[in-house]
C-alpha cells in the first residue's frame, strides 16, 4: 500500500516538474505544448498535445487526466489521424511516432541485462573480497584489495569503459565489440560493460562487507559459535556473513533499482540502446514525453526494489518479521 502511495507522490512530483513549474515561470500553454511536440511541430499536433494534457484547463483536471492516461490509456486526435496509446500510457513521442511505453519496453532488455550481469559480478567479487579483507585485517591482501577498492570507487565508468574499449577490444582484440540489442543477442558480449560497472560497485561493496564483517565477527554470538566447536568456515559464513549481508541487502536493493532505470553512463560509453540512453536522447532532442516517461519508469523501479527489499528483510531477519 505504501508503495502505491509513493508512486502517486512520484507522479505528482514529476507532473509538477514538467507542467506546473514551467507554468509558474510564465510559459504559455502553447510553448509548453511545443516542448512536448519535438523540434518542429505543426499546429494540429500542438492542439492535440494541449488537448491531451488539458493544458488550458485547471491544474486538478490536468493532473487527473495525466493519471488517467497512465492507468486507462489515451487517444490523441491530431486532426490528421487518431493515435491510440493503450494503458499504461506514459505519453506519446511525436518524434518517433510511438507510445513511450513501447519504446521503454523495447529498450528494457538491454538495461536489464547490463544490470543483472553487473550485479552478479559485483556481489560475488565485492563480498568475497570484503570477507577475505576482514578476516585477514591488516595483511597484504587486505591492504592491496582495499587500495584497489579505493581506486574502483574513484574511477568512473566512462574512464574505465573507454580505456578498456580502446585496449581490450580495439588494440588487443581480446573481446568482440560490445553489441547487444535484445534478449535474442548473446548476453556475454556485454562482458566489458559488466566488468566496468561491477568494478565500481564491487569496490563499494567490498568496503561495506569488510566493515560489516569486522563488526559482526566481534559479536558475542560469533564467540558462541566458536565455543560450540564449529569449524571456522561455518562460523564465518553461516554466522558472520549471514548477519553482515542483511544491511548490505538494503543498499543493494537501492543500487539495483536505480540501475534498472538505466545505467546512463555505461550505456552511453558502450553505445548500448538501453533505457538510460533513451532518456538521454529524449533530453538531447527535446522529446519531453520520453523524458517524462523514462523518469516515471526509473522511479517505479526504485520503489519496487525498495518494496522487495522490505519484504526480503522480513524473510531474512526474524526480528523484523515478528514485530
Amino acid at each position: 500500500m505504501g508503495a502505491v502511495g509513493l508512486l502517486l507522490i512520484i507522479s505528482a512530483v514529476t507532473f509538477g516538474i514538467f507542467f506546473l513549474v514551467p507554468k509558474a515561470a510564465g510559459v504559455t500553454s502553447d510553448d509548453l505544448a511545443a516542448r512536448f511536440a519535438g523540434k518542429t511541430p505543426d499546429a494540429a499536433t500542438l492542439e492535440a498535445i494541449k488537448d491531451r494534457f488539458a493544458l488550458d484547463e485547471p491544474v486538478p483536471v490536468q493532473y487527473g487526466k495525466y493519471i488517467k492516461s497512465i492507468v486507462a490509456g489515451d487517444t490523441y486526435d491530431t486532426g490528421v489521424e487518431t493515435i491510440d496509446c493503450p494503458a499504461p500510457c506514459l505519453g506519446y513521442s511525436f518524434r518517433t511516432n510511438q507510445p513511450v511505453f513501447d519504446e521503454i519496453v523495447d529498450r528494457a532488455p538491454v538495461t536489464f541485462m547490463i544490470a543483472i550481469g553487473a550485479a552478479v559480478l559485483w556481489l560475488l567479487a565485492g563480498i568475497t573480497i570484503g570477507v577475505v579483507s576482514a578476516l585477514r585485517r591488516g595483511s597484504v591482501i587486505d591492504r592491496v584489495s582495499m587500495g584497489i577498492a579505493l581506486a574502483g570507487v574513484s574511477l568512473p565508468v566512462f574512464f574505465t569503459g573507454l580505456l578498456s574499449l580502446a585496449f581490450v577490444v580495439h588494440r588487443w582484440q581480446l573481446l568482440p565489440e560490445v553489441n547487444y540489442r535484445g534478449f535474442s543477442d548473446n548476453p556475454f558480449s556485454l562482458l566489458l560493460p559488466w566488468i566496468c560497472l561491477a568494478f565500481l560497485y564491487a569496490a563499494l561493496y567490498a568496503r561495506l562487507t569488510r566493515a560489516g564483517m569486522l563488526e559482526t565477527m566481534n559479536e558475542d554470538y560469533i564467540r558462541t559459535a566458536r565455543a560450540k566447536g564449529l569449524p571456522e568456515r561455518t562460523v564465518v559464513v553461516k554466522h558472520g556473513l549471514r548477519a553482515t549481508l542483511t544491511p548490505i541487502m538494503t543498499v543493494f536493493g537501492l543500487d539495483f533499482g536505480l540501475l534498472l532505470g538505466g545505467a546512463i553512463i555505461t550505456e552511453r560509453t558502450f553505445s548500448l540502446p538501453g533505457i538510460g540512453q533513451l532518456a538521454l536522447d529524449g533530453i538531447y532532442q527535446s522529446d519531453l514525453p520520453v523524458v517524462l516517461g523514462a523518469t516515471m519508469v526509473v522511479a517505479l523501479f526504485v520503489v519496487l526494489a525498495n518494496l522487495i527489499v522490505d519484504i526480503l528483510y522480513g524473510v531474512v531477519d526474524p526480528r523484523v518479521r515478528h514485530s
Binding site: Y221, T224, A227, K228, G229, L230, P231, H239, R242, P318
Partner: protein, 365 residues
C-alpha cells in the same frame, strides 16, 4: 577431595620443574591449569590479564572463580576453551582438560574438544545467541558438529534438551527465535545448547547476572541438577559470592590476574586468609545482618593490568598495608599452602591474619 588436595599440594613443584611446560608430568586431575599466563600486547604496553594462575578440578565438582571486573576471570575461561585469537593474545603455561593440553594442542584438536568435552554458558544470552536462527537450529548445530546424526534425530535431541532445562512446551518453542524467549528462558536455552553434547567440563561465565533474583535461583538449581546427572566439572565465574556459596565446592579469588586465595568454600567463607577476600565478604549484603548496618566497599579501584603494582597487587587498597613494614610494596607474595587445601598470597604473618579475622573482620560481617 583427597585426590585434589594432593594435586594442589604438589603444584608449586610442578611449576618449578617445568617452566616451559614441555616436559611436565601428566595431570592427575580432570582439569589442571598450571602457571597460566595470558598477555595482550597493545600500543600502551602488555596487558597481563592472567599472570601465573594454577588450579585443579575434578569431575562432579564445582570451582567458583571470583573477582572484580578486570581481574582476569573471563579471560581465563576463554583461555580454557582455547578461544583467544593467537594473533593478539600470548598464552603460555598449561591447561590440561581430560588429558589434552589446550595451550600446546593444535587448533583443530581444540576445536573438536570445544562443545563436546568442554562447553561454555555465556553471560548475556541475548547477544550470545544468533538472532537469525531459531533456538532449535542453534542447538541442532551444536549437536551435529560432534555427532553424526540426521537433522531429525538432532531436532528430537534439541527438544529433549529444552525440556530437560525446564522450558515448557519444548516441541513448540524449539522453532522460536531467541528474541521470542524471555531472559530466563534464553539462559535455559543457552544451557541446553552448552549441555547438548554432555560436556565433561562446563564453564559458566556469570550465568545469572542478567537475570532477576527468582530466575537466578532457578538457574542455579538447574545447574546443580544437571551436574549430578552428567557428573560434569563446573567452573563458575562470577563476582557474586552468593552464587559461589550456593553452588561451589572450591573457590579461587582472583585479583589483578592472579589468584590471591584458593580454598574450599567452607574455609573461604569462615576462615579466609587474604585481606581482599575479607573485603569481598564485607561488601556482600546479608539478610542476617541488621538493616541499618552499612556495606563496606573495598576502597579504590582494581589495578591497571599494564602496570600491576610491583609488590602485592592489592597493597594500594589493602586496609592492613601498614602492618608489615613495607614488604608488600616491593615483593610480590606467592600463593602458599597455609593449611591443608587452603592457599593464600599475603605477606602478613599467618597468626596476625587469623587474629585480625577473628577480632576485627568477622564481628563486622
Amino acid at each position: 577431595m583427597g585426590d585434589k588436595r594432593v594435586a594442589r599440594g604438589r603444584r608449586p613443584e610442578l611449576v618449578d620443574d617445568a617452566p616451559g611446560g614441555a616436559a611436565s608430568a601428566p595431570p592427575s586431575s580432570f582439569v589442571e591449569v598450571r602457571d597460566l599466563r595470558i598477555h595482550f600486547p597493545t600500543d600502551d604496553g602488555i596487558v597481563k590479564s592472567v599472570d601465573g594462575l594454577s588450579f585443579a578440578l575434578e569431575r562432579g565438582r564445582t570451582l567458583g572463580i571470583v573477582g572484580e571486573s578486570g581481574s582476569g576471570k573471563s579471560v581465563t575461561s576463554l583461555g580454557i576453551l582455547g578461544l583467544h585469537n593467537r594473533r593478539n593474545a600470548r598464552v603460555s603455561g598449561e591447561i590440561w582438560v581430560g588429558g589434552t593440553d589446550i595451550v600446546g594442542a593444535d587448533p583443530e584438536t581444540v576445536r573438536k574438544l570445544r562443545g563436546r568435552t568442554m562447553s561454555m554458558i555465556f553471560q548475556d544470552p541475548l547477544s550470545s545467541m544468533h538472532p537469525f536462527y531459531t533456538v532449535g537450529k542453534q542447538i541442532v548445530e551444536a549437536y551435529r558438529v560432534h555427532n553424526d546424526v540426521s537433522k531429525q534425530v538432532a531436532r528430537k535431541h534439541a527438544i529433549d534438551m529444552l525440556g530437560r532445562v525446564g522450558i515448557p512446551n519444548p516441541a513448540k518453542r524449539v522453532d522460536d527465535y531467541p528474541h521470542q524467549f524471555s531472559g530466563g528462558m534464553r539462559q535455559r536455552a543457552m544451557i541446553a545448547m552448552a549441555l547438548s553434547c554432555d560436556p565433561e567440563l562446563l564453564i559458566a561465565d556469570e550465568p545469572t547476572t542478567a537475570l532477576d533474583v527468582t530466575v537466578q535461583a532457578q538457574i542455579l538449581d538447574l545447574l546443580r541438577d544437571l551436574q549430578q546427572e552428567f557428573n560434569s566439572a563446573i567452573i563458575m565465574i562470577t563476582h557474586d559470592l552468593g552464587v559461589v556459596a550456593e553452588l561451589s565446592d572450591d573457590i579461587l579469588v582472583m585479583y589483578g590476574g592472579r589468584a590471591v586465595e584458593y580454598a574450599s568454600v567452607d574455609d573461604a567463607f569462615h576462615r579466609p586468609l587474604h585481606p581482599y577476600t575479607w573485603g569481598l565478604l564485607g561488601s556482600m549484603p546479608r539478610l542476617d545482618r541488621e538493616r541499618t548496618a552499612r556495606l563496606n566497599p573495598i576502597k579504590g579501584s582494581p589495578p591497571s593490568l599494564i602496570n600491576v603494582p610491583q609488590g602485592c597487587a592489592f597493597n594500594p587498597r589493602c586496609a592492613f598495608r601498614d602492618l608489615n613494614d613495607g614488604r608488600s610494596e616491593t615483593e610480590r607474595p606467592e600463593l602458599v599452602e597455609l593449611e591443608p587445601g587452603h592457599q593464600a598470597a599475603c605477606h602478613l604473618p599467618l597468626d596476625k591474619r587469623r587474629e585480625l579475622w577473628e577480632s576485627e573482620i568477622r564481628p563486622k560481617l
